[in-house]
Structure formats: structure tokens, C-alpha cells
């Protein structure tokens, strides 16, 4: 039996303030959710290993994800570029209950790929627990994810909906 290879990969959480980046990471790593809003300053580092199966449903590889939970980026200055440098992937998060947060995503994706051209992206439409699923117009999100050849998953850090799946999808792309 072959040894499972463990790869360490840096993943950045990007998006506007209050969209739930920290909540998604905490739900994924510690399975906790807090209603309180606490602004992140700089970058908070988390780690979580995820084991991926190959096509034969056997353990293929293990990825040690180094999650960089980043503060809201107002300006892509030198400090930010230093922080996102070397990332293999990013989760771009927006808040379904504040659709203006969706507008920032494309800029974030573009700037992130300028620094890390070969990295992979996943979009998270977060806080589904606060909106009516029936009124969601997914076309615009799908358009963006198609543009970046990736997935856009509807998530909720509160209920845990799609949180594990979203990180697994990204891990499989890395």
C-alpha cells in the first residue's frame, strides 16, 4: 500500500466586511458559529487537513489547508499583496442578504489572480439562512463562476450548509 501524500496549501478567504469569512472558517475548522460580528484585522491563520479520495474511491491525497482568513480589503496595496502571495487557492465570499457585497467579488478575483496566476477559486454565496431560497437569482453567480471555470456554492456558516463541501471542492482543485 502506498503512503498517502500530504501537501500543505495556502488558501485565502476574500470578500467584503461582514460577509461571514471568519464564520465559514470557524465552522469548518472548529464546527462553531457565533452570531456576534467581530472584525478581523490583518490575517488570522487556521489549519485543517482534508483527505481526498481518487476515482476508485480510495484515499488519494491529504491536503493540509493553511487558511488565511483575511480582513476586508479596501485597497490592494503592498501589505495585501505580501499576504496573498503564494496562495494556491481562494474562497471568494459574498453575503446573499447584502447583494452589494457581490459587486466586489470580481475585483477581488482579478487582483488575487494577478498575484497568484495559477491558483484556484471557489465562490461562496453565504448566509442562505437569512434569505428566501425561492427568490434567489442564481444566474449572475453562475455567470461569474463560469467565467472563472469554478463553482459557486450557496452556504450558511450558521447551519453549516455546504461549508464542508465548499472547502472539499476547493481542496480537490488544488
Amino acid at each position: 500500500m502506498k503512503d498517502v501524500v500530504t501537501l500543505s496549501k495556502k488558501v485565502c478567504m476574500l470578500g467584503a466586511f461582514g460577509v461571514g469569512k471568519s464564520s465559514l472558517v470557524r465552522k469548518y475548522v472548529y464546527n462553531i458559529f457565533k452570531e456576534d460580528y467581530l472584525t478581523t484585522i490583518g490575517v488570522q491563520i487556521y489549519q485543517k487537513s482534508v483527505t481526498l479520495k481518487n476515482k476508485a474511491n480510495q484515499v488519494g491525497k491529504s491536503i493540509n489547508m493553511i487558511l488565511w482568513d483575511m480582513a476586508h480589503i479596501e485597497k490592494f496595496d503592498k501589505t495585501i499583496k505580501t499576504q496573498i502571495l503564494g496562495a494556491s487557492g481562494a474562497v471568494l465570499v459574498f453575503d446573499l442578504s447584502r447583494m452589494q457585497t457581490f459587486n466586489e467579488l470580481e475585483e477581488h478575483a482579478k487582483r488575487f489572480l494577478e498575484v497568484n496566476p495559477n491558483s484556484k477559486l471557489v465562490f461562496a454565496a453565504n448566509k442562505i439562512d437569512l434569505v428566501d431560497n425561492n427568490k434567489l437569482k442564481m444566474e449572475q453567480f453562475l455567470h461569474l463562476s463560469e467565467q472563472y471555470n469554478t463553482e459557486c456554492l450557496v452556504t450558511s456558516a450558521k447551519t453549516g450548509h455546504n461549508v464542508e463541501k465548499m472547502f472539499s471542492v476547493l481542496a480537490s482543485l488544488l
Binding site: 472584525t39 478581523t40 490583518g42 493540509n64 442578504s97 428566501d132
Partner: protein, 472 residues
């Protein structure tokens, strides 16, 4: 690491770790464990990626430093929870350092603790983003129409039109009349916010909530020594409202003694502070509101006639909620959105039976009562829509306008005690569904006495329509 060197590092809130050319940890300062992800043991081999996983992905940068192609690399504002659960902020600096014995280049990771400074920044950013979050929520839930008055009924359209018409009219006094909870305050704010003086202050006072003796000094201000304990001069609310709007809620409660001074101000836009001989001039729009019938108050000598006419230049009546038809549902759904968001509940709208219940209710407390009912319902409801059982209403009372048998409604022409008694009988018969024994019991009368009075008032128990016609 040598003790004196440790002391210097500690003094400057620094820690450090030194890695050899193969990126294995060689030496470290005592407090390094506060910033790294693993427990460091003397006899173990620790790589830089284990000690500082935040450097994963920066292999090229690390290599460049070891080759001395890069002199320094900083990563600012990293934060981590320590093993004791304390959040620490730090800047990680990577530097090349030649080993004095071998001459090989080593990698120094210098950690500068910035927890105290960054904690201040965190507080400021927290406040900033909380305000921005509130603003975006307000934009979403606070202003469904341009002036924040919801509804499509004719009466609400009239109110909105009234506000719009005032937008370009400078400083005209406005009188808002309507029952408690009909939104007089909201309309006053809407007038202010759409007016030419929207940038000025909006100052309000509730004339019923301040003792009559203090009201004059609150509105007009006072000079030092004007009365006992007037140790300093104080601006009145009129002065504070200069350039904006002064809203007097419950103007009907303004004491008669103060009404003449207020009238004089309305006429000449001038006033004197208490204890002053000097006249002050302010430029304010006055909006007054009342749930009292001011005309009646004038008749009863409780309100000055000249002040009433001075206030009544531009006036409107705000409708009761039960007069607004389907607007009840529009407002209810608005409050559902607001409170569902506030209480983080996924409740979206009303079931048909809940709608029916809301439409059937008379809403004596008007919009304020509706808001409270929805707030309570959102807190306790479990489903994804509010059901009729979630809506706790005082009672399903008949709508006043459509029920001639309503005891509390006194027509303008007046009502005699005999007629009043007749109405009680009518209601008792209706409540007892024509059962005389039950109706008599409801009124606390024996059956004989009940029948005697029925005959006296010529009420026909068999024909309720006839009764209704009779008492109109």
C-alpha cells in the same frame, strides 16, 4: 539563547527563531511558543513549515532570503489564538544571517508582538464596520419608499403627496393630527428629511413627557440666575434646532401659560430666553402633532384659538391603520423582514390565515401595535411563515366605522343614556345569538327585568336587522 539576549528581546516584545540552511529549527527564544503552531521540544526536529505554517506557499521568498537575494520580508498583522486562548497579533520578519562558525546563511524569523496596538485598531475598525453594516441594513429595510412611508392605499398616497408638496416650501408650520401610533413622528421626520433644511438638525420634544414648569426653559432656554439653580445659561431646543426642524409632539398638552409665548414666537420668529431681555431669532420649521381633537380643546378653553389657527395652516390627519385596507399586509411584511433580520430568523411572510387575522383586526394601537405584534411573533414563531396562531392580538374587536352597535362610538349629534342602554341590550342579544336567558345573564339582569326593558325599548329579539336599524 543567551539570557541577556532574551531580556533584550522581551523588553522590545520580540521573539525569534533561527533555522539552518535546510530550514530546520536550531535556536529559539523562550516565548516563541506563544506564536507558533506546535509544541517545541529540544530533541525534536522541527521544520520552518511546522513552526510557521503561515509561510507555506512562500518557498520562493524563503529561498531568495537564504540566497541573500532578498534582504528582508515582512508579513504584517498575523493573528493567532495561543494555547491559552489569547489572541495575539504580530509581524513576522524573515532575515538572512550568516552562521559565525560555519559561514552558512541561516534564516532568522523575528516576531514583533503588536497585540496592544492592533487591539486599538480592531476597536476602531469594529465600530466603523458595524456602522457600515447598520447603514446597509437601513438602506435595505428602512426606506421602501423614498420617504419611508409604506403603503398603496389612497390615504397613504395622500400622506406621501402631502410630504412631497412641503419639500420645497420653506419653514411653513405644519400640524399633524392622528391617533396614537399612526406614525406622526415618522411623517415629521420624513418632512424634515425631504425638505430644503434636511442638513439641519431635527429636534423633538414631547410636551406631555416634561413637567409644565420645565417646558418653557427646555424650549426657550434660560439665562444664568433666571431661577434658583440656574447656575449657567442654557440654549433652548429652539436654538438647537436653528437651521432645521423643531417637532413638538403632543402639542395639545402645552400649558395654556406657555401657549401665548409660543404663539408670539410663531408670529415673529423671535423669543426671549427665561431671565433675558434680549430677543433671539432662529430659522426653524415647526411641526406640531397631536392625538387630541384641538378644535374641541379650543371649545373647552384648553387650547388657545389663535394658536390653533396659527398651527392649522398646513395640516393633515394621519389615517388609522384599520382604514388602510391591504396596507396592513404591506406593513406587516415590512416588519417581518426587519425583525427576521434582527433576530436572525428565516421567516418570510404570512400564511393566508395570518393575513386574514390581521385584516379582520381593528388595530386600536395602529401601526405601533402592528409592529409590536410582529416583533413578538417573530421571536416565538418556528415556521418559515407567520401563522395566525403566532399573532397574539388583544381581541378580534369589530371595526368602529362599520358597526353601528358599537357602544363606545358616540355620534356627533350626541347620545342619551337611554340610547346607550339600548345599545348594550342590542350587543347582549347579538352576543347571546338571540338567546334571552344568556343575554340577560350577560347584563346581570333577571329574565323578567330583561324582558321588561326589551319591551320598553321596543327591541325585537327575533329580528336582529330590525334592532340594528332601530338603534342607528
Amino acid at each position: 539563547m543567551q539570557e541577556f539576549f532574551e531580556q533584550i528581546l522581551r523588553e522590545k516584545k520580540l521573539s525569534c527563531a533561527i533555522f539552518d540552511h535546510d530550514l530546520v529549527l536550531q535556536d529559539w527564544s523562550k516565548f516563541l511558543h506563544q506564536y507558533c503552531s506546535i509544541r517545541i521540544a529540544n530533541k525534536k526536529i522541527h521544520t520552518i513549515w511546522q513552526v510557521f505554517p503561515e509561510l507555506v506557499g512562500m518557498e520562493e521568498v524563503v529561498e531568495s532570503i537564504l540566497k541573500q537575494q532578498t534582504k528582508k520580508h515582512d508579513i504584517e498583522k498575523i493573528n493567532k489564538y495561543t494555547a491559552t486562548g489569547k489572541l495575539r497579533y504580530y509581524t513576522l520578519t524573515l532575515l538572512p544571517l550568516a552562521d559565525p562558525r560555519t559561514g552558512y546563511i541561516q534564516l532568522v524569523c523575528l516576531i514583533a508582538d503588536t497585540t496592544t496596538e492592533t487591539a486599538y485598531e480592531q476597536e476602531i475598525q469594529q465600530q466603523k464596520y458595524e456602522i457600515l453594516m447598520l447603514q446597509s441594513n437601513l438602506a435595505k429595510y428602512g426606506n421602501h419608499s423614498s420617504i419611508g412611508i409604506l403603503g398603496n392605499s389612497e390615504k397613504i398616497i395622500h400622506v406621501r403627496e402631502f410630504i412631497k408638496r412641503l419639500a420645497n416650501v420653506k419653514n411653513t408650520t405644519v400640524l399633524l393630527q392622528g391617533k396614537s401610533g399612526t406614525g406622526k413622528n415618522l411623517v415629521a421626520r420624513a418632512i424634515h428629511e425631504t425638505s430644503l433644511t434636511a442638513d439641519g438638525p431635527f429636534v423633538e420634544i414631547n410636551c406631555a413627557s416634561i413637567p409644565a414648569t420645565l417646558l418653557e426653559s427646555e424650549i426657550f432656554g434660560y439665562e444664568k440666575g433666571a431661577f434658583t439653580n440656574a447656575l449657567n445659561s442654557k440654549n433652548g431646543l429652539l436654538e438647537i434646532a436653528d437651521g432645521g426642524t423643531f417637532f413638538l409632539d403632543e402639542i395639545g398638552e402645552l400649558p395654556l401659560s406657555l401657549q401665548s409665548k409660543f404663539l408670539s414666537f410663531l408670529e415673529y420668529k423671535k423669543f426671549r430666553r427665561l431671565g433675558s431681555t434680549q430677543e433671539n431669532t432662529v430659522n426653524v420649521r415647526i411641526i406640531a402633532a397631536t392625538n387630541k381633537d384641538l378644535k374641541k380643546a379650543v371649545e373647552n378653553d384648553e387650547f388657545r384659538e389663535d394658536l390653533f389657527y396659527r398651527l392649522n395652516v398646513v395640516a393633515t390627519f394621519l389615517p388609522d391603520l384599520h382604514e388602510l385596507g391591504d396596507d396592513v399586509i404591506i406593513l406587516a411584511e415590512h416588519f417581518i423582514n426587519v425583525y427576521a433580520y434582527d433576530f436572525r430568523k428565516k421567516i418570510r411572510g404570512l400564511t393566508p390565515s395570518a393575513r386574514e387575522k390581521l385584516m379582520a383586526y381593528s388595530w386600536p394601537g395602529n401601526v405601533r401595535e402592528l409592529r409590536n405584534v410582529i416583533e413578538r411573533a417573530i421571536i416565538f414563531a418556528d415556521g418559515d411563515r407567520l401563522d395566525d396562531k403566532d399573532l397574539l392580538l388583544q381581541e378580534i374587536s369589530p371595526k368602529p366605522a362599520s358597526m353601528p352597535g358599537d357602544i363606545s362610538a358616540i355620534p356627533d349629534s350626541g347620545l342619551s343614556i337611554a340610547e346607550m342602554e339600548k345599545r348594550f341590550f342590542f350587543n347582549a342579544i347579538r352576543k347571546a345569538k338571540g338567546n334571552q336567558t344568556k343575554a340577560a345573564k350577560l347584563l346581570g339582569l333577571s329574565l323578567d327585568k330583561f324582558r321588561y326593558r326589551m319591551k320598553k325599548y321596543n327591541l325585537d329579539i327575533k329580528n336582529s336587522d330590525g334592532v340594528e336599524t332601530d338603534i342607528k
